[in-house]
């Protein structure tokens, strides 16, 4: 199988997709990503807003209905899930190379 032209994903994109396995609004994603990365990846507001825009255009995430009128809530799509799995497999094979060399 040919590898998707979108791989490898940036650390930020990867973590945003992971965060959106469960629905969440923009700021919640920022908090989750910071938490998931032990505070190493801190996405600024403008970058987060742009990333949501880009991921929506790629149809990797979608807007889902919510009670919050002032905050849009997003969730990963099937296409987004496929990319996430593909990237995870790519990372796994990298790790297995490192493991086999006892790094």
């Amino acid at each position: 199988m040919n590898r998707s032209k979108y791989l490898p994903l940036t650390e930020t994109t990867y973590l945003i997709l992971i965060a959106l396995i469960e629905p969440g609004h923009g700021y919640l994603i920022m908090q989750k990503v910071e938490e998931l990365s032990d505070g190493n990846v801190r996405i600024a507001a403008g970058t987060m807003y742009g990333a949501i825009d880009n991921l929506m255009k790629l149809k990797w995430i979608k807007s889902v209905p919510s009670d919050d009128a002032r905050r849009k809530v997003y969730q990963i799509t099937d296409a987004g899930m496929d990319i996430l799995k593909e990237e995870t497999n790519r990372l796994r094979s990298m790790i297995s190379i490192a493991d086999s060399l006892h790094l």
Partner: protein, 213 residues
């Protein structure tokens, strides 16, 4: 003793980072940006004794729907950025930090800056197109002969038969009347030139950031 209040008029042509550095330079001297109007190019800074003087950062975005604009403002506010100037269609938005904990910048990667200048490039191109359309309308509706026969704009008989310093003097003198009679055309041409400069600057900045990715 330093001043309590400083009023400055300064024009920044689409150079967002330069404008931010300008505001930062006053912050470092203990001044808080009290008021900004990007249409009149006016900045008012006031002396601030607080330990924390918020940083001001600038974004450029337009919104087709009110919900989108609300969502945008709410997200920035959630993340600690208070909106201090801008509206749904203004394009330019000024934000200030709400706490020292807020990130230093509005953007945390270079791609975001490349996209910011791409949006500004789109704005320059639409402004530029509008100017071209208006010039075409003026040309046909009011029969401005600026492009087809600019000599006809000068009503003075015999001006083109003069030469040397006599011509230069007469030309400059009459030129002021020509400009006055065609003020709209000339204003649009000035705007057009500004938009072209903006577009070139934005494209250059966008490429710079893309190259560093």
């Amino acid at each position: 003793m330093s001043k309590e209040r400083i009023v400055i008029h300064k024009i920044f042509i689409v150079d967002i980072e330069k404008e931010e550095h300008f505001i930062d330079s006053y912050r470092e001297k203990g001044y808080k940006l009290q008021y900004v109007n990007n249409n009149t190019f006016k900045y008012i800074f006031t002396k601030c004794q607080d330990a924390f003087i918020p940083k001001v950062r600038i974004d450029y975005r337009t919104f087709s729907k009110k919900e989108e604009y609300d969502d945008y403002l709410t997200m920035y506010e959630d993340a600690g950025w208070k909106h201090i100037r801008g509206s749904q269609n203004s394009g330019v938005h000024y934000f200030e930090q709400m706490t020292p904990n807020t990130t230093e910048e509005l953007f945390s990667d270079k791609q975001s800056y490349a996209e910011l200048y791409k949006r500004l490039f789109g704005y320059s191109i639409s402004g530029l197109s509008l100017c071209v359309i208006m010039l075409c309308i003026l040309q046909t509706q009011f029969n401005t002969t600026l492009f087809t026969n600019p000599k006809k704009l000068f009503f003075t008989p015999g001006i083109w038969d003069l030469n040397g310093s006599k011509f230069a003097y007469a030309f400059l003198f009459e030129l002021s009347f020509v400009i006055f009679r065609n003020i709209w055309t000339f204003l649009i041409i000035i705007a057009l030139i500004l938009f072209i400069v903006c577009a070139i600057k934005c494209k250059k900045k966008q490429k710079q950031y893309q190259a560093s990715l």
